[in-house]
Symmetry: C2
Subunit: 355 residues, 2 copies
Amino acid sequence: MTRFQAPEPQSFDKVLSSMCTEPAPVARRAAEEFLATNPGDPGTFKSVAGLEQETISLLGDVVGLDDPQGYVTAGGTEANIQAVRAARNLADVSAPNIVAPESAHFSLQKAAELLDVELRRVETGADHRADPEAMAAVADAETVLIFCVAGSTEYGRVDPIPALAELADSVGARCHVDAAFGGFLLPFTDAEWHFGHAPIDSMTIDPHKVGRAAIPAGGFLARDDSVLDALAVETPYLESATQASLGGTRSGAGVASAHAALQVLWPEGYRAAFERNMDLATWVTGELESRGYPVSQPTLPLVTWVPESELFEALRAAGWKIARTRTGAIRLVIMPHVTKSMLESFLADVDQRRS
Amino acid sequence: MTRFQAPEPQSFDKVLSSMCTEPAPVARRAAEEFLATNPGDPGTFKSVAGLEQETISLLGDVVGLDDPQGYVTAGGTEANIQAVRAARNLADVSAPNIVAPESAHFSLQKAAELLDVELRRVETGADHRADPEAMAAVADAETVLIFCVAGSTEYGRVDPIPALAELADSVGARCHVDAAFGGFLLPFTDAEWHFGHAPIDSMTIDPHKVGRAAIPAGGFLARDDSVLDALAVETPYLESATQASLGGTRSGAGVASAHAALQVLWPEGYRAAFERNMDLATWVTGELESRGYPVSQPTLPLVTWVPESELFEALRAAGWKIARTRTGAIRLVIMPHVTKSMLESFLADVDQRRS
């Protein structure tokens, strides 16, 4: 066979702002083994379809839900779209809207545009968390979903979920929690964020981020099967009656690797990673503060700090894969591939390039 | 590390109705190498983002388009959704509808429901192809998209694309071709199906089916960048301004394997596979006819035939992974993993179990 040389895939040794990371070795092996399978066709690919059911059950343990409904999505965006879609389809209103903190992931704007639902984004309160009173002020009888974040993209913050679930109930809306980033971290904190803590309806949780599965492995979970029913379409030529997923053919690699990672890492492996990553986040926070930078105290392993205006570009030019918040702060996401020596090297570059 | 035993992934040796297949070896290697990369974040994962651009350019060669716009989707469903979304967003009508033959893939029903667009499905004409006159009869000023199929799921048929593109033009609608199945087969036929044959606007073409890439690797292609612009949302924290894809984090494995497969197999490898698979399809058609079964003459390597009413279940019980059309005919999709000895074994089971 013809030999084909692809460019090297980029290593993770300068990646500091991504929620993607190297999959766990067991997850990588499972992905490679199931690369050619399709859980979207369970009549043909039975074993991976079984793994998907077990994965959802394992995710139920993570999120405090006894009889979880759901499936493995292509990622957090699909799960967020499905939450909005289910809420829209289940409501009986003519001009549906959703109410969300401005800290919600941009996939929510995608979902709103796609589904033709009005998105009411509300300023966050102190500490970049959702403000239930401000959200209540814009919610109304046409609100179909209160959207909450458990581990925000920019600051790693957890919204006051019980208060937001209460708001949802008071306006007759559904309540969704986006725990794409926080889902594999928050079980080791005292945060109130999951199905066991508040009467939320659905959740996004991404094995392919902190869960260390291979891409694509997101998760959409629901408390009750009416949510999945609201998403189902008929599948005429598959030997299964309906399909609730947004995609048709789906990645067996993602499903099998999520299953393998959860089997091996939940809960102790994830706990150890959380503790390690929080220690590093706390340490780098101290280092940045000692240099005089304003830093938001990390509640999850995500450190957001305000650099001099030209420092960001200088660090990008030095090869650091970093990204900014909308206000120009730098986000350091302390994922498993981020080491202390990597952060030391980053800080050395900060020292060399700061004005 | 803890050892984890997953159940064996299913082999393909009894899979006869799936458009999925074993990826080409070069595509599998590329997928494994790029498993941890994310083309959805091109500022961080630069090399796989470069491969995606090259993949789109290679796909342009396949579909007769000089300067193709587009991206690698999670699959055909995402591409079909995006086609409808772009058409809806670009049109200025209050109650948009799309007109499609009843042979259109069920993902179109998903798209219509999701996007709140009316779907007008029209009976196909002779030989299961779209009927331009019947479609013209239901198209109107609110029609935003004429949807065509190049390689239908049930019969492998190619719609009269030039006539349908003309219809689209006459009502001021966009024209989309779903070549998810046919895209890597039709270049070796005299069918008129692509951007070079008719003024179509967009196309679905799936490397992870006949293109022998690893799942997930679909393709959405457009003639002009206004289509992509109509899908773009802002990406506040990525070092790229907008994102047109439906997903956020996407599979680098899918992109890299599509790139590798196209580099190595286009055009001669795909031509050889097409000829081999058509020969097998023709052979099995003769075998089925000699047993007295009604068979639709294959125009692509997909053989649809009408069994006795209980034979389907008997063959499923014997382990054959087969599926039916809406009218109960059995579809045999002759993919690269389907061999003559496998079909001989299948026919032996037919002979043993027929009434």
